[in-house]
Point group: C2
Chain length 271, copies 2
């Protein structure tokens, strides 16, 4: 599926928090065989969230949107309200979500308050996702938008909660038969502009393999180049063989072009 990741919160926009949630979800979705088209952060306000949802669902036309953040009890937690508005759905207190929230607070001798009940309010048709770490439930909504089914998943912004809920509820749902096979090498000295023609040729020869160079250090004083190779295959053995062949070709072609040391950082393997 083509996916958008939407990480909500001013703390990201103010640079007080590094968006590790975006990276976590991007990595998991990639391993599960899906393509992340956009990672987007906006603040906790309805208007900006609406624009972000429009980018994900209309401009990039993604099948799967995963949001993080904005599910808590404070007034600026407005993710589900924004999603409900976007799809013109009413926001309703979900009985199952409310029951779970109530039980959690009860177990600590705490009562339900308006702020706590708020966390159970979801767009009509949403399925609440139990939070095994914290309190605020997540939600999952399947909905037809522009004649195609979309899946919208909302998870909390606290990384421990988000990761536990992704593993528990979402990963089993999104696991397909494709497996990701990856490898990485380090070329020293590795001048990107010198090795660019090799990479270009390899990309042409292997259109189904992703090959990308990343310069490290300073290109002039201590040039190093990471080269990353990845592909998907249902047949793991066949995939690893192809990966190894491509890697060998890259190493041979670089050695023919320049004198460099090549270190294998990660041998071809299934992720």
């Amino acid at each position: 599926m083509e996916c958008c990741i939407l990480n909500i919160g001013y703390e990201i926009l103010q640079g007080r928090v590094i968006n590790t949630n975006g990276a976590y979800l991007a990595r998991r979705l990639t391993i599960l065989g899906h393509e992340v088209k956009v990672i987007l952060s906006v603040g906790d306000n309805i208007e900006d969230l609406y624009k972000a949802l429009k980018l994900c669902l209309d401009t990039f036309d993604c099948d799967l949107i995963i949001t993080t953040g904005g599910l808590g009890p404070t007034p600026d937690d407005i993710t589900l309200e924004a999603i409900a508005r976007y799809f013109s759905l009413p926001l309703e207190t979900h009985p199952q979500a409310l029951r779970e929230i109530e039980e959690k607070y009860k177990s600590k001798g705490m009562e339900l308050t308006e702020e706590r009940i708020k966390m159970a309010r979801m767009p009509r048709g949403a399925i609440p996702l139990r939070n095994p770490v914290g309190i605020a439930p997540g939600m999952m909504l399947r909905i037809i938008h522009n004649n195609r089914e979309r899946l919208v998943i909302s998870l909390p912004g606290v990384p421990k909660e988000m990761e536990a809920m992704f593993t528990l509820h979402i990963e089993p749902l999104l696991r397909g038969s494709k497996r990701l096979i990856e490898a990485e090498i380090l070329v020293t000295p590795g001048i990107e502009s010198e090795i660019a023609p090799v990479i270009e040729q390899m990309i042409r020869l292997h259109p189904n393999v992703y090959i990308k160079s990343h310069p490290e250090g300073s290109e002039l004083s201590e040039p190093r180049l990471r080269i990353y190779v990845s592909l998907y295959d249902q047949d793991q053995e066949r995939g690893v063989t192809l990966c190894n062949n491509v890697l060998k070709e890259i190493v041979t072609n670089i050695s023919m072009r320049c004198k460099a040391e090549i270190e294998i950082l990660k041998p071809c393997s299934v992720s």
Copy 2:
């Protein structure tokens, strides 16, 4: 200014790299008194970059766009091509950029190649930004778009290069008279749903102060709440006094509502 940060590269979308460039720029821009509206990552392809630029320049109507990544010598480095196309500007080899690139390679006994010359190709009207760490120059483009002047700045994706260039070229340009004053406290135990009414009341009382709670740990087993307070003021002393007053009010109101320990993580100070 209202800003968008656009971090380009499949390595971000695949979760192989955490977008620290986004957080760095967001933090610097916030300290300099600007408002980041969106942080966005898309892959190295013209079509997606075009959509991202449209979001920044039209949907969010930002004054300043800073891009990172996609300035290197490989064929998938297409940031400046995408910007040129977006504004219908021709892409031209910039003599000054080319001279700097040539000198850098010459100093290492290396010749110009097509891949290396490519890094000097910029939209017409752009000003190249010297890269004191690596080779690929950045660029700055002032352009009228929808009847308003916009500033588009492109920096490399390698963090060391990006940070050096931001500090050297961009920070002096964007520094205004406003100063950011910040403070942070930790409330233990801190149950967000319990403290939410205090925060809500404080936000109402101090509309020019940014007050935000962030739950940490698990809300039920080891609930802690960070409360962040920030404001801008040209007069540092006045700003710090206001910040201290707000902080005191928050502490008093929390203490009246529940029994909790309050630790000052960061006293009110100028950032």
